[in-house]
Point group: C2
Chain length 333, copies 2
């Protein structure tokens, strides 16, 4: 059983794998895990993954876990956390730990092995976002979970170990510290001004326009004021909403349009860079709130993030966001 351990100083939780399946020496020379041969996410190989928990496109009456699907969500075969068991919170002297309970699922975005997320039709990308929402709504019924992280690693340098386009979801019994820091910061702004800081930001970015990349009726895409890395790009709903899973399908469609053009612009500008995106949303057990605002953070993996950066939280960004945004505005989305 993996463990969730809490750093006693800053309160950050980490997942410690304790299965001893691999020896420490296995980490001496890590490579970018290029996987060759059979792809477990391709149609016809459905038996190479755990059984699907969500699916679209398969004709009515066709058997589960066979071909004919447009999108599949399956449990991760090598999950970071285990779904069965109790949290069993305990202390070890001054330290805190609990069992590594959680869900780790893979959203297989389409049947085509070589079709990248940015190449999906807008309607298909909407289906992906809707699958995110459907899985969140299902998993939030499990009272052990406090947070669901939705994210995508595209390309080996961004941490993807399989090529077939997919996103991931991790349901956790704790809220990740970076999300909590955002919630706390946004709350301080709200307490002071009775306004959502993200709404204020959307308003300033739309007026200023120097960091604006794109907008449609519902979403705005911009380079944030203090980006940690070159070409970091945020996608933020214009209308206040704290919870991603509360968005109706029509707005997810507009989100898909904004995400698609963002990924296409980054690809055109930077030559198909590896990237990560992550959805930040209100924690599952918190009431919807006027102070926090869900959003997507897209980060191309262009620069090395070394221990120095995470030992200090201090980032040096050689590309001003105004330049990045100008560049992204000019290329075709």
């Amino acid at each position: 059983m993996p463990e969730l351990r809490r750093d006693p100083i800053v309160g950050r939780w980490v997942i410690i794998a304790t299965d001893r399946a691999r020896r420490p020496t296995d980490y001496a020379h890590p490579g970018s895990a290029a996987v060759h041969g059979l792809c477990p996410f391709c149609p016809g190989h459905e038996d190479k993954t755990p059984g699907e928990v969500y699916v679209t496109g398969r004709p009515l009456g066709a058997p589960a876990n066979g071909p004919g699907w447009r999108l599949r969500v399956v449990p991760n075969r090598f999950p970071a956390l285990k779904i069965e068991g109790d949290l069993d919170r305990k202390g070890e002297g001054m330290y805190d730990l609990m069992n590594g309970i959680g869900a780790h699922e893979v959203v297989i975005e389409g049947p085509e092995h070589g079709r990248l997320m940015r190449e999906l039709a807008e309607a298909d990308l909407t289906e992906v976002l809707f699958a995110f929402k459907a899985r969140m709504l299902d998993l939030r019924n499990d009272q052990r979970f406090r947070y669901i992280l939705l994210f995508k690693n595209q390309g080996a340098p961004a941490g993807a170990s399989l090529e077939h386009p997919h996103s991931q979801l991790i349901a956790l019994p704790v809220t990740p510290i970076q999300v909590q820091d955002e919630i706390d910061g946004a709350r301080r702004h709200y307490d002071h001004r009775e306004r959502c800081i993200y709404c204020d930001m959307v308003s300033q970015e739309r007026k200023d326009r120097s960091r604006l990349v794109h907008e449609n009726e519902e979403f705005v895409v911009f380079a944030p004021w203090a980006p940690r890395s070159p070409f970091e790009t945020w996608i933020v709903p214009k209308r206040h909403e704290s919870n991603f899973e509360a968005e109706p399908k029509e707005r997810l469609g507009r989100c898909a349009q904004a995400l698609r053009t963002t990924l296409r612009r980054l690809a055109a500008a930077l030559g198909d860079p590896p990237y990560n995106f992550i959805i930040h949303s209100n924690p599952l057990r918190d009431a919807p709130t006027p102070s926090y605002h869900w959003h997507i953070e897209v980060m191309p993996a262009l620069t090395q993030v070394a221990g120095f950066e995470w030992g200090s939280g201090f980032h040096i960004n050689p590309v001003p966001p105004e330049e990045a945004a100008e560049f992204l505005r000019k290329v075709s989305g």
Copy 2:
């Protein structure tokens, strides 16, 4: 002039280079900047660096910036921050910025191009730590600075762009957020218990021994309870002290012994991995405090740190610290 910009939500500062010396497209395909040819840090090439601000070993009366030195500290030729100017704090709508004022120096650890830090004699490594202290004591006189980050990137995957062994120092007008988070967390522990959390940790680790790697009279080396990455290792003074620069030379000598054996053990265990270390110390303008405790965090660069990790603060570590420590105890230091 580079800019320091503050994220309005979480309060993190980033340095934005604004000199436009490079174009955004230059970041499309970053490589590990392997530098060939002339090494600016080797003896005889002293004119390839800015003039030295600290030096050891050169015979009395020998001219500055010539050969004969054992250790040199020079300003970084491509500094992230500029030393001249005023902070000129200002707002831009809801955002905060100031001029990127700071010092960025390089500690050239020895004249030999191929001699790694772990291969230095203990006395020579003590000189390196003493140089850190000397530069801190000098730079803290500049009232614009609030924090001095001391760190080392070893190997290209850990962010080193030059091979010749060197460490770096960045003096900043702000305290890095990760350090502030530690200070705040340690303060909460102190307010509650009137004990330093690091002292408590040293005590528990020495008693428990499962995560202990090494100790001498003055320092303890251990794998932290909740490490962010495999083989993360901390070096902590046994006697409480908040400020690195307050340590007398004898204790820096014992620190050098602990650091040297740590680096040698990591090299033996993991086949000379790239690594980072960073010194966390009390901010320059804060009074010495019973609640915070300086220390060194060493992180081998074994796993990919992708945007996902820094978008969530959430880490999955496949090597339990007890296993890493056991492994490091067994190899020769």
